[in-house]
Amino acid sequence: MSNEQNMPLWEVFIRPRTGLHHKHVGSLHAADSTMAMHAARDVYTRREEGDSIWVVASSHIHASDPKRSGENFDPASDKVYRHPSFYDIPDEVGHM
């Protein structure tokens, strides 16, 4: 077994029938994108989970570093003026 090459890893994204964004559902190993697609259909859509599949080689994904979560995401928390409720308008205007 040890002289076999490792099968590449693929990330699987499915778009649900409701038309929402493709969503990450898991991963699998396959030799190439065609086989990854076949395996993704068999493994992740046995119960009408979606009507479109993306498979992406895992090595192509670049993730943010959790150690830098603070500097990346904290600055958004004190910017309340990015939300509609920050602004006062007369009640008579109704829904806006």
Partner: protein, 330 residues
């Protein structure tokens, strides 16, 4: 899954008290731990062992039921059994993927299963000599698995929790088709009903053993609970399982093979529950250590599947390599 370059980078984290306290604070705040987050080495190794065993159990679990696919007595039963066994294969794959996020490779896990180093659930080392066993397995074995898996949907490790949510969605048909099958046998001829009772007699105690050693003897329970990998102890889950299944057996005219089984109104903080007899832990450890009835056959079957599939894996990779070279040359 995710960027594997970072995985393992935190293994060298100095696990001083401040580090462990910060980690525990995240756990207590019900934050999910994700693959690239700092985590104690023992958290990582506990999860690798636990998810790996779980994955192997799903894969080996296909064998006892696969034994009956060609002999299912009707098309209805056959499509149900095929779909269930296929689901179990899928569960194994979701779980292997979750374990891989912790830095262990699929090849390594497969090697450890085939060499006997890695364990899988003791229940799959019992044989399935009669058709009734297919019903009993769905009802009790999948029933016990569900009892165990539902709280795992809230496991502190994100990829494991997400895999469990998918698995749980798929499990409920497994248990229902099994119970329906047993119920039909019980409504049939005297011989059919006897076959159902005989099957229950053989599977009841091994099903209770599925929850693992008693809390007083379990070495891994404390940390797993503290880190919210598990939410209930082995004995708590076992009690829930007994309380749920005893009435189900009664309803279809079967009885558990346990003379000490009786209702105790004081149990479960006064809500009532069943007292049950002593579990034969010697049998449990015998089977775990490789001396169950089917241990050798199960590993032999997995090894044969792996070896027989080698040429397919090699051909697929050779083809992919050739395609890549042609694309590069064009």
């Amino acid at each position: 899954m995710y960027s594997q370059g970072l995985i393992g980078a935190d293994d060298k984290t100095a696990e001083d008290q401040a580090f462990l306290d910060a980690f525990q604070k995240r756990i207590d705040a019900e934050e999910k731990i994700e693959p690239n987050d700092p985590m104690p080495a023992a958290y990582r190794s506990t999860l690798i062992r636990m998810i790996g065993q779980h994955a192997h159990s799903e894969i080996v679990g296909m064998l006892p039921e696969g034994n009956w696919i060609t002999r299912a007595p009707s098309l209805r039963r056959k499509v149900a059994l095929l779909a269930k066994v296929q689901d179990e294969g899928g569960h194994g794959l979701y779980l292997y993927s979750a374990a891989e996020t912790l830095g262990v490779s699929r090849e390594q896990m497969t090697e450890e299963l085939l060499s006997g180093k890695a364990k899988y659930s003791s229940i799959f080392n019992y044989p399935t000599p009669t058709w009734a066993d297919i019903g009993t397995i769905g009802w009790l074995v999948d029933g016990a698995a569900i009892m165990n898996q539902v709280p795992l949907c809230r496991c502190s490790y994100g990829p494991y929790a997400r895999a469990m949510i998918r698995v749980c969605k798929e499990e409920s048909f497994h248990q229902r088709q099994g119970y329906e099958l047993v119920q039909n046998l019980c409504a049939g001829t005297t011989e059919q009903k006897a076959m159902a009772q005989d099957s229950l007699n053989r599977w009841w105690w091994p099903s209770l053993m599925m929850f693992g050693p008693s809390d007083t003897d379990s070495q891994h329970s404390d940390l797993s609970m503290k880190w919210k990998i598990k939410r209930f102890t082995n004995d708590e889950l076992r009690q829930k399982f007994v309380d749920a299944t005893v009435p189900q057996a009664k309803l279809i005219g079967l009885s558990m093979p346990d003379a000490d089984l009786k209702w105790n109104a004081d149990k479960n903080n006064g809500q009532g529950g069943y007292d049950f007899g002593a579990i034969d832990w010697d049998e449990f450890w015998r089977v775990v250590k490789g001396h169950g009835m089917m241990n050798k056959d199960r590993i032999k079957a997995r090894k044969k599947a792996w070896d027989d599939g080698a040429w397919v894996r090699e051909a697929a990779q050779a083809y992919a390599k050739k395609q890549n070279t042609q694309v590069a040359a064009a």
